[in-house]
């Protein structure tokens, strides 16, 4: 029995080392293609940005860095990506701030959203577990356990184990190493990572998902004949932080905390779907946001 257990243990240890080595072959952001494209762009870009925005599609589709620069005088880059989990944003930001090139020099804006759920159908996907390192997994498990959301706590545990064991990741990691990611080019690169949904539809007119989201929203507006209450009022808050505090829970008691609470835009003409502005809405939102930031900067001085 001892011999058998010893052999199994040694083999498991070797396997674990091999898996760790495989994981080291890819950068920390490899699991999110959109973020990976943007990060690779930043790595090779000669431009030095003053500010970075982290978040989900609410950041990706709303924050226009070019407009931000024109209003605040600070160059910025949008690192938002669609369907990004809260803990994923934290993980990306945490690692980003530990990168020498970006450390301790920049203004970081993070979309403040409540912890996002891992849907059952996404449970075993790389996209929903690649960011679940020990720190993130335990934060997620603690958060959901304290709220008696035991299924979510369990999903975070499963995601953590799957990530540690590279389950479902091996081929993708090799592929990432061989092929890399497609370079960020065209309008997204020109707009420093910003890509509103109407622009996206214009470039991919046959995208069924986008067409459906837009037409569903327009139908809803037509039926109600009034502005639609969008579901993003909470999620448009932004936090500005100095790159010292890591982890969303840490921010609340941290310094340089800037909450931009208001989301005054309710006219349907500014929306692409229930959760996102169109280009016009994004422009209006950036104006409001820049005004608040300028005011804060002035007050601070």
């Amino acid at each position: 029995m001892k011999k058998f257990l010893l052999e199994i243990l040694i083999f498991t240890a070797v396997l674990f080392v091999v898996l760790k080595a495989i994981k080291l072959m890819v950068p920390y952001y490899w699991g999110n293609k959109q973020v990976a494209q943007k990060m690779e762009f930043l790595k090779t870009s000669n431009k030095d940005f003053d500010a970075f925005f982290f978040g989900s599609s609410k950041t990706y589709r709303h924050i226009n860095p070019i407009l931000f620069e024109s209003k605040t005088g600070k160059s910025a880059f949008n690192l938002g990506a669609t369907g990004t989990f809260t803990l994923e944003v934290e993980y990306l930001m945490d690692n980003f701030l530990h990168t020498k090139k970006f450390y301790d020099k920049k203004d970081i804006y993070v979309q403040n959203i409540t912890y996002s759920f891992i849907g059952k159908k996404n449970l075993h996907s790389v996209r929903s577990n690649y960011y679940l390192d020990t720190k993130r997994a335990f934060r997620g498990i603690n958060y959901f356990t304290s709220r008696k959301e035991y299924t979510q706590a369990y999903y975070h545990l499963v995601g953590f184990i799957e990530n540690q064991l590279c389950i479902g990741q091996v081929f993708d990691i090799f592929k990432y190493n061989i092929n890399g990611v497609l370079p960020l080019k065209g309008i997204i690169a020109q707009q420093n990572g910003f890509y509103p949904l109407d622009q996206s539809l214009k470039h991919s007119p046959n995208n069924k998902n986008l067409i459906k989201r837009n037409t569903d929203y327009l139908k809803l507006v037509e039926q109600n004949k009034q502005p639609i209450k969008t579901n993003q009022s909470k999620e448009l808050k932004l936090i500005k932080l100095k790159p010292i505090a890591f982890g969303l829970d840490d921010y609340s008691n941290s310094f340089n905390l800037w909450l931009i609470k208001n989301n005054p835009i309710s006219d349907p003409k500014y929306y692409f779907d229930r959760g996102h502005y169109n280009s016009l809405g994004a422009e209006k939102y950036m104006e409001e946001l820049s005004e608040i930031i300028n005011k804060r900067n002035k007050d601070k001085k």
């Binding site: 011999k3 058998f4 052999e7 479902g168």
Partner: protein, 481 residues
């Protein structure tokens, strides 16, 4: 709980360690094994544990009574048959009978007002009911002494490695192993680990990858060209083999870790030279069950030609029906019976009892042709097994010959890339090569390279492949049969 899940990855080592810690006290070890088995099943759906417990209780009590009583033994046996087959009829076939009755009435333009029930099929019901049934029948036939220990009997029925998808183990083989002290055997445990690894490779790397092609092709077969439909049919033949034999390998391997031997359930059926050999090698625990409890009691082959014909049809149709409540399964059984009958009448059904190309590395030309012919026949029959109804099965075959153009457009239609096809094809080749060189043994990884480094490189390759595909998303096909 699925074998290819994270939960099982944690469950197995814990069970293994506690099980062997308790090995000094057999009763404690069996209590633990029973509890672990109920937990294994209950994590899927705890409500259906009551069915297993009830079924076990009925056959345990009937077994004891069969031993005690001289008169009324037949009535006791019928009680067991009634309860076990009754469960199957209610949970598996009730709606099928109702729907078939309505369809039959509609031929005469009569529409009876009947309701169907929203019944969930309990996982593994077809397996454990056959297991408990065989116990009562064997006790009735005085082939087996009934066990006095309720714990041992309940553990035999619920033994978790084979509870939900077999092998359908006879009490005569498994019960004595549960009743007696098990000793840890290093060689057996190592072989068990290898068999688990092989089973997982077949299940997660091959069967699930094939399913990614098969499902969209069968769902929309009218829009695929010949090459797509041929690939769909061939991949389904491989999928069902790897899925089911992979599950059996894991079950047998896990049992070996616990010091228990289960019967071999698959013996490389796709290396068979005719359909009779195929059935000696495919789902052996089920085919021998039907042979011993249906075919032989009907007279087997020791009756007139007409009755032999009847017996063969009965066994194949019942076997088809066992797989599911759909006429497609019955038709699948019927097709196999049609292919089997000529062999019986030509007295060639026991021609290929040995292993193909015995003591040789490669088969001869005739054997290659025979294996290919057998694979084509079986694959055609699988189309009906996979189709939603018989018409769809014929439709699939019709389109296979109708749209005779060959291109790779099917890859776009199934939403996969060429590299997916290459990868799965590579895995299939690896599997068949290993199985070919181990065809005289019990599983594909039985004989390993003598060189330790190549052996561990192979283990590592298999582990990494399994890790890549292990997600626990796909249920085993045979769970619902």
């Amino acid at each position: 709980m699925l074998f290819n899940s994270i939960e099982f990855l944690l469950f197995l080592p814990i069970v293994f360690i506690i099980y062997w810690i308790l090995s000094k006290k057999l009763i404690l070890q069996n209590i633990f094994l029973l509890a672990a088995s109920y937990l294994f099943y209950g994590l899927w759906d705890y409500r259906f544990l009551s069915l297993i417990i009830f079924s076990s209780l009925v056959d345990y009590l009937i077994g004891l009574q069969l031993k005690k009583q001289v008169n009324g033994r037949k009535a006791l046996l019928f009680t067991s048959l009634f309860v076990n087959i009754g469960f199957l009829m209610v949970f598996k076939y009730f709606n099928f009978f109702i729907d078939s009755f309505v369809d039959f009435c509609s031929i005469f333009s009569y529409k009876p007002s009947v309701t169907t029930l929203n019944i969930v099929l309990p996982v593994g019901i077809s397996f454990y009911t056959f297991q408990t049934l065989s116990y009562s029948i064997d006790v009735y036939r005085n082939k087996l002494e009934p066990t006095k220990s309720m714990l041992n009997f309940f553990t035999y029925v619920a033994f978790f490695p084979q509870l939900v998808a077999g092998p359908i183990e006879r009490a005569i083989n498994l019960l004595p192993q549960i009743e007696n002290k098990r000793l840890f055997d290093y060689v057996k445990a190592k072989s068990g680990m290898r068999q688990i690894l092989w089973g997982l490779f077949k299940k997660v790397a091959i069967a699930d990858s094939c399913a990614a092609f098969v499902d969209p092709i069968f769902a929309d077969y009218t829009n695929f060209s010949s090459i797509g439909l041929i690939l769909g049919a061939v991949f389904f033949a491989i999928q069902i083999y790897c899925d089911f034999s992979g599950y059996s390998d894991i079950a047998i391997g896990v049992s070996k870790l616990l010091g228990i031997d289960l019967m071999q359930n698959f013996s490389f059926p796709y290396f068979s030279r005719d359909i009779a050999e195929f059935w000696r090698r495919w789902h052996i625990s089920l085919s021998t069950w039907f042979r011993d409890y249906v075919y032989i009691p009907l007279g087997g082959s020791k009756v007139s030609k007409i009755l032999q014909l009847r017996n063969i049809f009965v066994i194949f149709l019942v076997s088809g029906f066992w797989h599911g409540a759909n006429w497609t399964f019955v038709f699948w059984g019927f097709l196999h019976a049609l292919c089997y009958i000529p062999l019986i009448f030509l007295k060639r059904n026991r021609k290929n009892l040995d292993v193909i190309a015995q003591n040789k590395i490669f088969p001869n030309f005739v054997e290659v042709i025979q294996v290919f012919r057998m694979f084509v026949i079986v694959t055609f029959a699988w189309v009906f097994f996979r189709a939603n109804n018989i018409q769809e099965g014929f439709g699939y075959l019709e389109h296979m010959f109708k749209n005779m153009f060959f291109d790779n457009s099917f890859l776009n239609k199934v939403g996969l890339e060429t590299e997916n096809l290459y990868v799965v094809t590579f895995f299939i080749i690896v599997m068949f090569v290993f199985e070919w060189f181990n065809r005289a043994y019990s599983f594909g990884l039985y004989n390993m390279p003598k060189n330790k480094i190549s052996r561990y490189v192979l283990y590592l390759f298999l582990c990494l492949t399994i890790i890549q595909y292990l997600s626990g998303k796909n249920e085993f096909i045979y769970f619902q049969f």
